[in-house]
């Protein structure tokens, strides 16, 4: 269905091609997963299939891409619209109309399908994606998962034979991601759609893939069986890491594969369970041997660094938070989880005084955030928002650091020193917008850390990060916790939570529905359990690093 024939792309002003030479053929009805580190050219390769590269983005396409017999060199994206459906990373940037039903019909209207056909397909797609209750809703009022489903639905209605998806589940909570993946799998199995998909969160998708196209760092591109490709891949999910550690061959791709073979491993691990028995007293949340005071958070009698009591927040007719009582101590890492729109970001924003609580109390470091001047609050609590670039205004890294020093009243050079530690080879003159997602996060984090706030809040810190960038972030956050910073992360990333959080708080509809030590909370709910815990249950292991250490 898709032929890549010596494909390579060189953008203007670039010295080297944006992706390795790809030579591959994807047959009809296959789900092919595109993997590689950030910056390896995944999005560019996806763009060549829909014709957006090079027709829309510029640059030079070498070789030839043929989709369903049509050459993308001679066909513009709009002439491929009936054959290829594309959903980019940000579904909001994809929507042309304002309601769900109109959005589903938009592509068909452009293709000029008859009214009766359009109506029938819209109804079918509403059912297929479970969107019928939302058909009249304005798109802006939908949650992330719902928007992603609408975006997929909107390219499905013209019945494309090829679907190109760029990170379809990265911004979604685990249950919503499962919904979207279930739909994609149904399309592949029932309709014979060919799907080419790039995704950072391999643990979610790799088990569904028929083939894997690997763009490796040594600048080659290989297509092959998922297990074989993961064996040589620089990025891989925990389940495969664990398989590699245990020496299983072929490598497992799904929790089910791994569980079948995990019997021996469980036996080997049984005597090494920390604390002995199935209910460990001190599960090591950090894999490296951390100082004891960070493993067991300071005792309960110490006054909390931040506290909310019966916090309620009503905005318009929406109750965003309801009776949230939370105590955060110095040196503690707390993960906030819950579906999109459950109130995680609102709670973080309230802790830095962006919202005035409707009821209840909130104190941070002895201060009431919304009554504290921003310039002063900066030294007590810092938030890195979901979109780190919101924090960055200047046009060079150096200028950004200088303003951060002034804002925080820190010694000149403080911020730049932090940046150099996190991003050793970043030039002073780089423009913040040209940085990669991970680099931008590190810069924003340095800006916030310049004021040395004891309470550090991070909203979705791992969105768009590959495994390497994530590992660097984890190391850094552990160090900060050891230095006595209290960290609160709002995240969907269960693997990250398993690695660093002492405590997990789950929010639903603005209320706390669970609050407890990480190992208890995540293992008792299948949607929030990390892969290693699913494989080795009932033993209390959470991460590959813990297992590696124990062996």
């Amino acid at each position: 269905m898709i032929h890549f024939d010596h494909v390579s792309v060189v953008y203007e002003d670039a010295r080297q091609p944006a992706l390795p030479t790809v030579d591959a053929h994807l047959p009809e009805g296959e789900l092919c997963l595109l993997i590689g580190a950030s910056g390896s050219g995944k999005s560019t390769l996806l763009g060549t299939v829909s014709g957006l590269v090079p027709h829309f983005t510029g640059g030079t396409l070498h070789g030839r891409v043929t989709v369903g017999g049509r050459d993308t060199r001679t066909h513009k994206p709009r002439e491929l619209a009936d054959l290829v459906g594309t959903v980019g990373q940000d579904p909001l940037a994809h929507f042309v109309t304002d309601t769900v039903e109109d959005e589903l019909a938009y592509g068909m209207e452009s293709l000029g399908l008859p009214a009766a056909t359009m109506r029938r397909r819209v109804e079918e797609t509403l059912d297929l994606l479970g969107l019928n209750d939302l058909r009249d809703r304005p798109i802006a009022s939908l949650s992330g998962g719902q928007q992603q489903r609408v975006a997929i639905g909107s390219v499905l209605t013209p019945h494309p034979e090829v679907l190109v998806l760029d990170e379809p589940t990265s911004a979604l909570d685990p249950p919503a991601a499962e919904e979207v993946l279930a739909v994609i799998q149904r399309l592949v199995h029932d309709l014979g759609t060919t799907v080419l998909m790039a995704e950072h969160r391999l643990e979610r998708v790799v088990q569904y893939a028929d083939q894997v196209l690997l763009l490796s760092p040594d600048f080659t591109a290989r297509l092959g069986d998922p297990a074989a490709m993961l064996a040589v891949s620089p990025v891989r999910p925990p389940v495969t890491e664990l398989g590699d550690l245990a020496g299983w061959d072929p490598l497992p791709l799904s929790v089910r594969d791994a569980r079948r073979r995990a019997h021996g491993l469980r036996e080997r691990l049984a005597p090494r369970i920390p604390g002995g028995g199935a209910a460990p007293a001190t599960p090591a949340p950090s894999a490296s041997p951390a100082p004891p005071d960070s493993v067991v958070p300071p005792d309960d009698s110490a006054p909390p660094l931040a506290e909310t009591s019966r916090l309620g927040l009503v905005r318009g007719r929406v109750t965003a938070l309801h009776d949230v009582s939370l105590r955060i101590r110095a040196g503690e890492t707390v993960a906030l989880m819950g579906r999109n729109g459950a109130g995680k970001s609102t709670l973080l924003n309230t802790l830095v005084g962006m919202h005035r609580p409707t009821s209840g109390r909130v104190t941070v470091d002895g201060r009431v955030p919304h009554r504290t001047r921003p310039a002063e609050l900066l030294r007590h609590a810092g938030l890195v928002p979901q979109e780190p670039r919101d924090l960055l205004y200047a046009d060079t890294v150096a200028r950004e650091c200088r303003t951060a020093d002034t804002d925080a009243g820190a010694d000149p050079g403080t911020c730049r020193a932090l940046v150099s530690r996190l991003l050793p080879d970043i030039p002073d003159t780089a423009h913040p917008r040209d940085l990669s997602e991970g680099q931008r996060l590190a810069l924003a984090l340095s800006v916030i850390l310049t004021a040395r706030p004891p309470l550090l809040l991070l909203d979705e810190p791992t969105r768009g990060l590959d495994y390497a960038a994530k590992a660097r972030l984890v190391t850094l956050l552990r160090e900060l916790a050891d230095q006595g910073h209290a960290l609160v992360l709002a995240t969907h990333d269960v693997e990250l939570v398993a690695e660093i959080a002492h405590r997990v708080v789950i929010l639903a509809q603005g209320e706390t529905v669970a609050d407890g030590p990480t190992h208890e909370v995540v293992t008792s709910s299948p949607a929030y359990a990390p892969q290693v815990s699913k494989i080795l249950a009932p033993q209390p292991w959470l991460t590959v690093a813990q297992v590696r250490e124990a062996l």
């Binding site: 957006l52 829309f56 994206p77 709009r78 619209a81 009936d82 980019g88 929507f95 042309v96 109309t97 304002d98 109109d102 938009y106 209207e109 452009s110 293709l111 000029g112 009214a115 109506r119 029938r120 079918e124 479970g130 019928n132 209750d133 939302l134 058909r135 009249d136 304005p138 009022s141 949650s143 719902q146 019945h159 249950p175 919904e179 029932d190 309709l191 007719r317 929406v318 109750t319 579906r339 729109g341 830095v352 962006m354 921003p374 900066l378 928002p385 979109e387 924090l391 205004y393 951060a404 804002d407 789950i506 509809q509 529905v513 407890g516 909370v521 008792s524 709910s525 299948p526 949607a527």
Partner: protein
Amino acid sequence: MRRFRTETPHTRGRRFSARPLVRAPLTTRSTALHPGAWWLWALGLATAASRTTNPLLLALVIAVAGYVVAVRRTDAPWARSYAAFLRLGLLVLAIRLVFAFFLGSPVPGTHLLVELPEVPLPEWAQGVRIGGRVTVEGMVFALYDGLKLATLLVCVGAANALANPARLLKSLPGALYEAGVAVVVAMTFAPHLVADVRRLRAARRLRGRGERGLRGVVQVGLPVLEGALERSVALAAAMDARGYGRTARVPVAVRRTTTALTLGGLLGVCAGTYGLLAAQGAGFGLPVLLAGLALALAGLWLGGRRTVRTRYRPDRWGPRAWLVAASGAAVAGLMISAADALPAALAPPTVPLQAPELPLWPAAAVLLGLLPAAVAPAPAPATGPDPGPGSGSRPGSGSGSHPGSRAGSGSGTASAADTGSRTRRAGRPRGDAPSPRPGSDDGGPRRTARALRGRNDDEEHTQ
């Protein structure tokens, strides 16, 4: 009415017993009133308002428009603009009064309110006056005049709140479609920009800079513009990939004819308008204008052949749309004739000062504008508090358990259910499409909810 009550289940009967006699259907996609009908109705009211300065009649027009908006507007974003128009109307009224106070009024009057010191102006500024006598008559005249302007604004605001602008643009002829999309995109763009500014100003707070006001807005200007540019490029790419701008091949002859017709038509319209407005040549003005219009319309129609687009569920102009539009036209027509018949009542004199009277039959005519409150489809009852993003389809959030929403979906989705079954009979698109499994889509969230509950139980046990 009684029949209705006996038919409906008592839960619904109780809820709807306060409704007016004539029951309009609930708004769904297929019963929604044509947006053009709302505009005609509102323009009718505006025309009526422009014919009178009687404050009682103007207040009546505002009340009629306000009542219809109150009972027939939906929860949609554009519907919230009504309050903005009301405020704009008040502002216009205030400005008119302030000007009349300080700049004086041409209306002669005897009741002196205050005497401001008059600023001496040079000779060439004759006719302009600053300060001086302020009379009650002058202020009342300004009040009437400002009220008329405010009423016009309120009427436009009512149309804005009641008619979906995107759907109105969908009714444009095919040749104008691409321009229409540009307008729609621009309209969705503005709210995005506002949201961006808000978000970035909130982020400024995170960096310890709390300035509010203009300075804060200016400093986030550049990032906001950058973001807007990025978003428009992304949107353009998405639209291109979804087939925007696909054109059908049209013979060269047809294309040339289209161009000729459109150009000729526009020239005709210009010449005709000039003829009508100029002192001489009114005789040939009208025919030329009409001919130009006809040519331009033919050009548009022919130009439409180049677009391959079709329209998904266009709004239908049904009997209810006729009634709504007719009620607006009736108000306008009656008021115009009233202005001829009762000039004194419709434009109450301010010199000498006297209390305005409410002329009976023009007032009754304005009340005709209330017809849409009865015949236009009613907005679906609110499904409890808006659950906000994230909980729309989740179980237990109130959609479905609320009596009002059940009534809404009961009558509203009847047509959807019909088409659903028709769909299944009509066969599958390609291969064997999965049959829609009701409830299967709820599996994910419901499972999570169970899991969450399960985990809660666990916790209680461990405690």
